[in-house]
Symmetry: D2
Subunit: 304 residues, 4 copies
Amino acid sequence: MNYQQVLDEIFLNIRSLENVGKVASYIPELSKVNPDQFGVCLKTLDGIECGVGDWKTKFSIQSICKVLTLSYAYKILGDKIWERVGVEPSGNPFNSLVQLETDNGIPRNPLINAGAMVICDMLLSQSKNAQTEFIDFVRKISNNPNIDYSYKTAQSEKSIGYRNIALCNFIKSFGNIRNEPIDVLEFYFHICSIEMSCQELVQTFMFLVSDVINSKDNQSILEEKKAVRVNAIMQTCGFYDESGEFSFRVGLPGKSGVGGGIVALHPEKYCIAVWSPRLNAKGNSFRGMKFLESFTSQTNTNIF
Amino acid sequence: MNYQQVLDEIFLNIRSLENVGKVASYIPELSKVNPDQFGVCLKTLDGIECGVGDWKTKFSIQSICKVLTLSYAYKILGDKIWERVGVEPSGNPFNSLVQLETDNGIPRNPLINAGAMVICDMLLSQSKNAQTEFIDFVRKISNNPNIDYSYKTAQSEKSIGYRNIALCNFIKSFGNIRNEPIDVLEFYFHICSIEMSCQELVQTFMFLVSDVINSKDNQSILEEKKAVRVNAIMQTCGFYDESGEFSFRVGLPGKSGVGGGIVALHPEKYCIAVWSPRLNAKGNSFRGMKFLESFTSQTNTNIF
Amino acid sequence: MNYQQVLDEIFLNIRSLENVGKVASYIPELSKVNPDQFGVCLKTLDGIECGVGDWKTKFSIQSICKVLTLSYAYKILGDKIWERVGVEPSGNPFNSLVQLETDNGIPRNPLINAGAMVICDMLLSQSKNAQTEFIDFVRKISNNPNIDYSYKTAQSEKSIGYRNIALCNFIKSFGNIRNEPIDVLEFYFHICSIEMSCQELVQTFMFLVSDVINSKDNQSILEEKKAVRVNAIMQTCGFYDESGEFSFRVGLPGKSGVGGGIVALHPEKYCIAVWSPRLNAKGNSFRGMKFLESFTSQTNTNIF
Amino acid sequence: MNYQQVLDEIFLNIRSLENVGKVASYIPELSKVNPDQFGVCLKTLDGIECGVGDWKTKFSIQSICKVLTLSYAYKILGDKIWERVGVEPSGNPFNSLVQLETDNGIPRNPLINAGAMVICDMLLSQSKNAQTEFIDFVRKISNNPNIDYSYKTAQSEKSIGYRNIALCNFIKSFGNIRNEPIDVLEFYFHICSIEMSCQELVQTFMFLVSDVINSKDNQSILEEKKAVRVNAIMQTCGFYDESGEFSFRVGLPGKSGVGGGIVALHPEKYCIAVWSPRLNAKGNSFRGMKFLESFTSQTNTNIF
């Protein structure tokens, strides 16, 4: 299959449609982005890489990073992470506090804000240098020493992050945050601020397609039996209360961020990243969802 | 791979463990079943069929049938069914009314009780003979004219089905049931009462693995683009508030019933059914969950 | 104080304002009522009775009757009724099922639909002739043998009472309804259908102002220590999720019905009933709320 | 009536019963209090003051102070305060965040934590010196220049106040807190830390029985039409999710605090304060509830 041609055709088609939706405006730094940027990058297991549009432009990956913190914590802490966070879809918006009240401070899964905070807390308990060590991990799996936090975006988000401050203190009140909320939030806002291009995203996420590819030092990034579970959680929980819809339309494990990025992957074939800042009503990239629906349909690579 | 040997080994292993959990006792008819029966059947796309234990014993498939009513309604009514039922996991127990209140009577998905009732209502609006036509559909896809409702079980469930009566009248109060609740419930209790053995279950569900197999009359049972969506819904919503867990541990689309049956399938390879009446705290077969976790692990057929 | 003059003045004043709100249309029989009828009746402890407008016209008292079923059950069954129903305000609309799910089928108080159904169930368990005995009780305390159920209204409500059917079956599923839901609902729809004029309402409710007045046979209707508790429940729970507002503005124990009636009382002074069918957004009589706010303000009889 | 004798008798009776319940332990400073202290003070409109037990010992009045912040804000800001806080009972525990999510950040009433924070925020917007001005107001109405905040208790509560920090930031995320949460919380923790004895409490709260008494400078503390509304809110909302129970058993407007204090008043007769640190399951003083139930019963001063 000529993947470049497929990307080009779908790209042109989606770009010709009206680009509806709003850029995430609640984070001041994100609202400054040109809303009509649009890029896609695909990398296959057999080494093909192709891209279209703004695929080399960096953007704020936001919640996509929660898959990386989960993978990192799962790698170094193992199955004991599941004592403090679940693996069930939440059925609620991404920042809901209701479920936490019902579930006594145990977040439903590690890909919602509450769950990612608990993961950050575990990493902080493990090491005072968690913030540095984590970005080193990301640089390693992406083979890219230039990946970094955006201190400006982290700062911007912290300045208005009242709901996240509420969330973290609420979990703390149940005892499921062990460090001081202010420290956990500092780490959390930083992981959300990481910037990558679509090209860098697919490079980074290839370890979930195959454990071999990225390991230049012959070390495993994440054992396969853990990787399949991370993929399973992305499938059921990657898109907040639109996870079922993504599974229904696209049929791949994936994760979105409010910066307008989506990464998705076929566990035996490829990783793909799409970026377009305008978001639908559920907070997921409008064009990203459309693109991926067309892509799995045309390439017949829906996993179901 | 010698599938028979794999089934046998896992079967012996699981059977040697303590069989915990309770048989569903709220339906009088179900509580009469011998709780330690245990059977498995596997059928592959290339024609292998093998089984172990009580794989030819009929049992009440209960909620597993919701996949069949969904498939039938999707086949004859098409995408308009999604106007009245969602595709998102519920994040709540199977018979919760809370979500319906929030969502104004639109059930989260067609595999929870509320959603299955709305599907039944659609079918009743389509035809007064829906109950007969539906069992004919099931007989056709299973190539088995002996599949039938259990009038005794339907009657038993009706006699104590207060929560389901509440659910159906509640949806009616929002206008999302069009027929009289008493008629919808009559149909609903019947579909839940269908009896099949593991062998019959896999035979019946093969149309979701491949559309070709079962069509002796050259007619499609369900077009592939619809089948993948039914599979996607099973993946995210098939196990009530344990759907994420099943996805996490087993990694296959599947559906459970309170009779202790579970059917699961690999979209490119096989269909498998397990039956063991003792249920875990979430209402899914204790041994069934364990068996399938071992099976996808040993055969390396987790879809993620 | 010249009460007649006060009633007249406020009546003219309120009538001159625009009469906004909607008549309860979900019960077909209620929607036929002329929406601009407006009546008031006051009866004081020292024997004064005065009225204005349509104060002698009968209307459907609906939920107001829940105070009477509560009083009757409390009288004959005593404090054991509190094992199956609470005394807390619900904080939710009158027909919410959410709270019941949280509270395992124990309704928050006897003045919401769920609670009144549990009271009806208790009375039915006490006597097969509860429906007849209850109307006899009402006739006795009102000194009026002509008070009766409206079979037409009861039938009308039953024909569309899906939410109430849901509610009753839901409580049954928790075991807090002992009789068959269909029988409880039959009784429940009847008690809601009772018709009275404002004049008859104040006459009926005087036993909550003073136990002596109505007892022509020297028998107590309800001992004072029980009456104060019924009044306390009316104060905190009498107006669904507008109970605090009524307490705040009017400052009297009272109870409203969707027929547009409100009865309120000053425990040491009087009973007053207002009727006007147009309802505000919370389901309470628009003019009734306004009238009573002016009345306690002008007569300085707010109990606080 | 010999009030002293009544107090003495009930006091002895209650003290002879087992003193069950737990001292609020989540605030380190409160957990140091001797749990078996017990005091009562009564002051009548006609000038009688009597007390028993530890009625002159200061304790942390905690949430009781919310009535004072409400009264102060109502006095200086008038009815516009109701645009940002409701008057309905919450039907939920005192620190629930669920309701705020449903109600878009508008707390149900000013006597739950969320509502008191919004009141604090209003006062801070009105004056940078709100904290000083408020304690001056309290000293004035109590005729007691020694009433003060306990900086130690405020600090103690702040050190573990994660749930309150969550609450305040959550309301801020809806825009219903205008100042920085950290400043609102500082003020909030201080108002909760005020210390008074039972004797001082009744002296302070007499302005809600009669506006005349405390005004040595001929200035009104709170006009009667506002005072009745504060009383009405205490009646329906003063005891968290036990407000209905208190109304039912005691029949007076009142307010409790987790320090074990309860103040209650009869709008035409008296103010009474009870203090005993052990709390029942709902967080209200075990002995306090019992004492007041006996008191209104024996003195026949239930307002209903």
